[in-house]
């Protein structure tokens, strides 16, 4: 027998670790770089908190009642435990005033005139109650379908001076978070989808197709966003006021979302086209073409997946911008209404806009020489929500870009 080959390698003492999958490896590296970015982590944390608040608010109906007294420019919550804040109703004559009772979920077994929990049952009860003993009572009215919220911050709730409606700012902000988030993701999602397709087609096919599509993009990009949305909303509401079963309020919301998506896609189209122009010159595309792949297959399987990364960054940036723009639209009177036809639709933008309106009206109409109270919280807290959301999304997207772009993470 032949002697064992002396040149045979000795059996390996340690097994080499299998090479990680390249994509997995990339994800790990990205996660490593992302983790080192404190600001991005903070952004992620804020976003998670906001999202859980939104999820909680969307699933938790809480019955809650509140009464508000309106006397000229004075208004405020009427509370048994009168805290004297912001207004202390000490006058004995309430004629000309109105007490508005709001509730959201009437407890079972009670009619619509139920308000105030244990205190009152009907308007007459209220007028004859001990609270107004020996006084001229205000007129009493009831409103339904209004704000409730998990936070019973009665002292901070405030009513609009002009209209006998009532909302609780804080519950509104919480309740509004789900819609604010959905608006942003929905609008930017639709826009990004259209933009992705248009941009990919333009960049891949080039030539006349590219020219035509890019001119179209130029056209849409040269109309200011807010202006265009306003015009589209105006014109469409003039023609389509009610889409079948949706109801006027929902139709308006849908039109708003569609109008936004209509102006939002060109940004993505331009972005994707640029990326596709780079991608289509790569060797692997040439290889795919050489191996006989059809144009559609190359586009869908190779080009789009490889050009999609900048979209994510832009997407996360834009998601933070939409609530701000909706706030601006609300300021111009085109946002979602807070009280559409007996309903209640709180949303960060319209709450912020109402806050601005209230502060402005108090600052301009205050004639009390001893000073008026500016409801600063009406401006501050909606602003805080908008700010936190936008800034966390921005920090997050910045971190993502730094983590995913190999050129930037040196």
């Amino acid at each position: 027998m032949a002697a064992p080959d002396a040149a045979a390698p000795p059996p390996p003492t340690t097994l080499r670790k299998p090479r990680p999958h390249p994509r997995l490896d990339q994800a790990k590296r990205s996660w490593y770089f992302f983790r080192r970015n404190t600001l991005a982590l903070i952004g992620l944390a804020i976003l998670v908190i906001l999202a859980s608040v939104a999820a909680y608010a969307a699933t938790t109906p809480t019955p809650w009642y509140k009464m508000n007294l309106y006397c000229g420019a004075d208004y405020g919550p009427l509370n048994k435990a009168q805290s004297g804040y912001p207004y202390n109703f000490s006058t004995a004559n309430y004629s000309g005033c109105s007490l508005v009772c709001t509730y959201e979920v009437a407890p079972p077994g009670n009619s619509a005139s139920f308000c105030g929990g244990l205190w009152y049952k009907t308007p007459t009860d209220i007028a004859q109650s001990e609270d107004f003993a020996g006084m001229v009572p205000p007129t009493v009215s009831f409103k339904s379908g209004l704000s409730t919220g998990p936070l019973p911050l009665g002292a901070l709730s405030i009513a609009s001076i002009d209209s006998p409606t009532f909302y609780n700012l804080f519950s509104g902000l919480l309740r509004g978070s789900d819609w604010s988030l959905m608006f942003s993701v929905g609008i930017v999602g639709i826009g990004a989808f259209i933009g992705l397709i248009v941009g990919a087609v333009a960049g891949f096919f080039g030539g006349v197709v590219d020219d035509v599509l890019m001119r179209l993009v130029d056209i849409f990009l040269s109309i200011p966003v807010i202006l265009f949305v306003v015009v589209v909303v105006i014109v469409t509401t003039a023609t389509v006021s009610d889409l079948g079963r949706l109801g006027p309020a929902n139709t308006k919301l849908l039109l708003l979302v569609l109008a936004f998506a209509l102006v939002w896609w060109p940004f993505y189209a331009r972005l994707v086209r640029g990326q596709v122009l780079v991608t289509r010159e790569q060797k692997y595309i040439e290889a795919a073409r050489a191996s006989g792949a059809s144009k559609a297959r190359i586009l869908v399987r190779h080009i789009i997946p490889n050009s999609v990364y900048p979209i994510f960054v832009q997407f996360s940036l834009d998601v933070g911008t939409i609530p701000l723009l909706i706030g601006g639209l609300a300021y111009l009177g085109f946002g979602p209404e807070l009280f559409p036809n007996q309903g209640y639709f709180p949303e960060w933008g319209n709450l912020a806009q109402l806050g601005v309106g209230q502060i402005t009206s108090i600052l301009t109409t205050c004639t009390d020489p001893s000073g008026c109270i500016i409801p600063w919280w009406q401006l501050f807290f909606p602003g805080l929500f908008l700010f936190l959301f936008a800034i966390s999304v921005n920090l997050l997207s910045d971190g993502l870009r730094d983590a995913f772009d190999p050129r930037l993470r040196r």
Binding site: L39, R215, D218, I219, S222, I223, P224, V225, I226, L227, V230, V231, V232, I234, V235, T236, A238, T239, G320, T321, L324, L325, G327, G328, Y331, L332, G333, F334, G349, A352, V356, I359, T360, L363, T364, C366, T367, D368, P369, S370, G371, C372, I373, I374, W376, L379, P382, G383, L386, F387, L388, F389, A390, I391, N394, L395, D398, R407, L408, R410
Partner: protein, 439 residues
């Protein structure tokens, strides 16, 4: 390619964009009731005709029973047109014909485009909110182009001031952030720039006003008057209008503290200030102040513009700062920078002269890309600060009853502005970076 050729070629590209925007506007316009289309062109109601349109006029054709169904009252006469009324005077058709609405759709498009290109943007409707509101009643029955001519210079001056702030803030801070990458300065710049993204302009504007009110506030309560103003003058009212209030007993402006109304005539205003909304003869407030020999009024206006301009700039700085920083980072890794360092050029000179050179390019590019956003913020800002510019005019025109003339006029105007700005940016860019026009 020579510069002239480049500009000529670039100008040719403008035409399809303009036509496209006008076409989109036309399509949207088609969705409006014919009544509104007529009103927005002729104002409302057309003058010198006894039976024109109020409400939605039911007559579609002459000498036929109305088919629209709604009753309407003819202007000037007490004839009420009901569903069965025969339209005999044919006025409806006269106006329809005048506006070319009886032509086929291509003819209508051609007419619309022609009017848009030749600045026949219609007349401010009498019935609209803006024409009946207190602060804009002087726009009643005024051609939109003329109204814009009154208001645009102010907006342009405001835009120029905010562009100035953008340049002054974004470039140095962006460069500083890039040089000190990932150090505290960079993080602070990052948070500041993100704040610009994260605060809606109307909120920031209101906060700024409230802040200034608080600063100028005597310690008692919010019945606010500034230290240099007589009691009883809420300072918030001082934020209304581009100019100091007309109804003022003193010659001191309560906002700025400047004395300026020496030549007070015409209810407290100098004669060249037309009721506090526009100045004569050029419309640019500071230029007019200088031309009329009252520079203090110009200074006052600039001070009033500063706060809104800063608010606008704050929003735009956010994006530009990021781009300046990132492009600076990329350039700092290029070979020529390394060469410069190897030659022993001081680091300060490297960052300023070698790498910093391109920040202006980047700023201009990003400004061009985001100009539509920039200019789109003006209606809100001008409304918050109650300034008499085209933006506020638009913000008032979208209050029901709408003024379609102003809405569509400003759509086209804003597009012109954006297109012109992009053109200027491209030409500037080609001038700054020869590769563009050569390539």
């Amino acid at each position: 390619m020579r510069m002239v050729t480049y500009i000529a070629r670039r100008l040719l590209l403008v035409l399809p964009t303009l036509l496209g925007v006008i076409t989109i506007t036309f399509i949207l316009f088609q969705a409006l009731p014919i009544q509104d289309q007529l009103d927005s062109h002729f104002g409302n109601p057309p003058k010198n005709h006894p039976c024109a349109f109020i409400g939605s006029c039911p007559c579609d054709q002459d000498n036929q029973a109305s088919v629209r169904g709604n009753a309407c009252t003819c202007y000037g006469s007490n004839v009420t047109v009901t569903k069965s009324t025969i339209c005999q005077d044919g006025l409806y058709r006269i106006y329809i014909h005048k506006l070319g609405l009886d032509q086929p759709i291509w003819g209508q498009w051609a007419g619309f485009t022609w009017r848009a290109l030749t600045f026949q943007w219609g007349t401010v409707e009498n019935k609209s909110y803006i024409a009946t509101s207190q602060s804009f009643s002087w726009l009643k029955d005024v051609p939109v182009t003329q109204a814009i001519g009154w208001m645009l210079p102010y907006t342009l001056e405001l835009a120029a001031l905010s562009l100035f702030f953008i340049l002054v803030i974004a470039i140095p801070v962006g460069n500083l952030a890039a040089v000190n990458r990932n150090r505290p300065i960079d993080q602070v710049a990052r948070v500041i720039s993100f704040s610009g993204f994260a605060i809606p302009a109307f909120l920031l504007g209101s906060l700024a006003i409230t802040g200034v009110v608080l600063l100028l506030l005597p310690s008692t309560g919010f019945y606010v008057h500034s230290p240099w103003c007589p009691p009883g003058e809420p300072i918030y009212n001082e934020f209304q209008g581009s100019w100091p209030l007309a109804t003022k007993s003193t010659t001191t402006d309560c906002y700025t503290g400047l004395t300026f109304l020496q030549a007070a005539k015409n209810d407290g205003y100098p004669s060249w200030l037309v009721n506090g909304y526009a100045s004569k003869p050029t419309g640019f407030p500071t230029v007019d102040a200088l031309l009329n020999g009252q520079p203090w009024i110009g200074v006052d206006t600039i001070i009033r513009m500063t706060l809104p301009a800063l608010v606008i700039a704050f929003g735009s700085v956010a994006g530009i700062l990021r781009f300046v920083r990132n492009s600076m980072l990329e350039v700092m890794n290029l070979d020529f920078v390394r060469t410069a360092r190897a030659k022993g050029v001081p680091e300060k000179v490297v960052t300023k002269k070698h790498a910093g050179r391109n920040s202006l390019n980047v700023t201009i590019t990003v400004l061009g890309l985001t100009f539509a956003f920039f200019i789109g913020g003006f209606p809100i800002i001008e409304e918050v600060f109650q300034l008499y510019g085209v933006g506020r005019m638009l913000a008032q025109a979208v209050v029901t009853p709408l003024s379609y003339a102003i809405i569509f006029g400003s759509t086209i105007l804003f597009t012109y502005i954006v297109v012109a700005a992009n053109l200027i940016v491209d030409v500037l860019y080609a001038y700054l970076d020869p590769r563009v026009r050569l390539g």
